[in-house]
Amino acid sequence: MKKNYLYQLKDVSFNYQLGSHQIEAIKNVSMDIPLQKLITLTGPSGSGKSSLLNLLGLIEPIQQGSIFFQGEELSLMSQSQQNLIRKFQIGFIFQQFHLIPVFTVEENVAFFLARQGLANAEIKKRTKESLEAVKLWEHRQKKPNELSGGQRQRVAIARALAKKPNVIIGDEPTASLDQKTGREIMDIFKHLASEHSVSIILTTHDPMVQSYAEKSFHLVDGILKN
């Protein structure tokens, strides 16, 4: 598999159990995701885009088919190898932000850097840079509950960015924000993809978000449509 692709998927299928029913969320999807682009996964609700994103983020197990991350097949990796990829190479941004409520903005960003084992000086440097990138440095001492929804999402972006990952994965990161704030967030993503050489993969069904995409994949009922 080629290393010049971020991800390559070969005949990937994914099912999940809903009560007594088995739902086919992804059906034989094969795709190549290029490096350093802002990419969107679109489709109506229930089309499988979140399931696909979870597979790319290594937070769902690969059931069928092969997924290659920068040329390495994920299903052949151990749990600890997958943990390391998630720790160092993937940044996550969730619709619900998932900030740590007892930490300040600065501590939220610094926490996963400390968990990467970085030196204090490096943690401080990266925290400052990433909070400045999302224009939240002056709010660094605030707790998440003192911020607006847009500001919280920017903290989540700063947290993902500070890890200096190869890819940032976002599951409808603007869905809980108003259009103006959503646009501000998308401007940040666009800037990250172009200036920081980070690949961004977002799920959305918002046309505004789609308008920022350099490449887009469309899913319907778990099937990839061009």
């Binding site: 979870n54 937070i59 769902e60 749990q79 990829i85 998630r86 969730f94 998932h98 400390a114 968990r115």
Partner: protein
């Protein structure tokens, strides 16, 4: 940073943290006070036993207690003055009680009954021993020709306090000696066999009847029972022909067996308390952990391993257990030394005649054990609560409400 986060998590939901802390504090407080009362019961029981009859221990000639002799007085202690001199030099020795046994025939009018008596230093013993309940008359103290009778023996002889009776005993040279005594008091221990045969006279009167200066045994009162082993070792190396026996061995049937029996009971109750505490903490910690599935999913999504997440959760549990334990111990201690300072009245223990107050008794090891158990319980509870969430598929944890 994980430690810091674990600590900070204690403050994220004040009411929940307070509820867990109170659960732990209550459980630890119960354990701590229970241990304090066990300690109190056992100590009071021990003290009552020591002051009932044997003192802290007894001195005899070597192997005297294990053997039955046709002429036991030949194996009595013949150098009491020397031993007494040594004992008075020992800082841990508070009281010395030389004793002889005096089998004798007691005669009142036409009635004659054999009894198992003892010659004692009654004045000294009356200050130290309080195991005998005086049913009528007064205790034997300094009455030169006084005699204290067991209630059954007094009844059989038909005597009451201030009546006189005659004692006939075989002296060490085989002759019959006789002396008249005045009944000072009648005692009751509750043991029928003992009360039917027991009498006590002054040591000198008994020695005079037996025509000997020797003593059979020397009971001792020490400053504390903890000093017994050290004392016994030094004594036996100084007097190798003598041996020492602690009260626990002398009173094995009642004291040691009762203590073993109480210990076994306490262990079961302690286990029940510990199980309740464990369930209480598990319930509270589980609720706390299960509420945070999304957050834990986020940690896992960011590369934290199951071990890392478990460490975070168990640190929280340990903090809660330790903090709750300290609160519980402190509050319980305050309650014990204020509201329950006078203790609780207990009925007489096995082999004892007097009721006694058990009070809470503090010892540092109770703090370590209670605190250790509460922390361990919180650790175990958080471990099992965390295991379920940490092993949950990441996406499922993130989707949780």
């Amino acid at each position: 940073m994980v430690l810091f986060l674990s600590f900070m998590n204690l403050f994220r939901n004040f009411r929940r943290t307070l509820a867990i802390l109170l659960t732990v504090a209550l459980g630890t407080g119960v354990l701590f006070s229970f241990k304090g009362f066990i300690h109190g019961v056992l100590n009071q029981y021990k003290e009552s036993t020591i002051h009932a009859h044997y003192g802290h221990g007894q001195i005899n000639t070597k192997n005297y207690r294990e053997n039955i002799y046709a002429e036991p007085w030949k194996h009595w202690i013949n150098n009491f003055s020397e031993i007494n001199h040594y004992l008075t030099q020992q800082s841990e020795v508070v009281s010395i009680f030389p004793r002889v046994s005096l089998p004798a025939l007691l005669k009142s009018g036409n009635t004659a009954i054999s009894g198992a008596g003892q010659g004692i230093d009654a004045t000294k013993e009356s200050h130290f021993f309080h195991g005998l309940r005086i049913a009528s008359g007064e205790p034997l103290t300094n009455q030169e020709n006084g005699i204290l009778l067991g209630i059954g023996l007094a009844k059989a002889l038909g005597v009451k306090p201030n009546d006189s009776l005659t004692l006939l005993a075989t002296s060490v040279d085989g002759a019959i000696s006789e002396a008249t005594f005045i009944v000072a008091g009648i005692s009751e221990t509750g043991s029928l066999d003992f009360d039917n045969r027991m009498f006590r006279v002054q040591l000198q009167a008994a020695q005079s009847l037996l025509k000997t200066d020797n003593v059979e045994s020397i009971a001792l009162g020490l400053k504390s029972d903890k000093e017994w082993n050290h004392f016994a070792q030094a004594f036996e190396s100084h007097f190798p022909q003598l041996e020492t026996t602690s009260f626990a061995v002398l009173d094995k049937v009642y004291y040691q067996h009762s203590v073993d029996w109480l210990h076994a009971q306490f262990k079961v109750i302690q286990l029940i308390i510990l199980s309740i505490v464990l369930l209480g903490i598990f319930n509270s910690v589980s609720a706390s952990v299960l509420e945070r599935k999304q957050e834990i999913g986020n940690f896992r999504a960011n590369g934290e391993s199951v071990f890392d997440v478990m460490r975070l959760i168990t640190f929280e549990g340990v903090f809660l257990g330790f903090l709750g334990g300290i609160i519980g111990i402190t509050l319980t201690y305050i309650v014990m030394i204020t509201f329950l300072n006078n203790g609780i009245l207990m009925p007489p223990g096995p082999g004892l005649t007097r009721p006694f107050y058990i009070s809470f008794e503090f010892e540092w090891h109770m703090v370590y054990v209670s605190l250790g158990l509460s922390t361990l319980a919180a650790f175990v509870a958080s471990f099992f609560a965390g295991l379920r969430v940490a092993n949950m598929p990441i996406a499922k944890a993130l989707r949780s409400i």
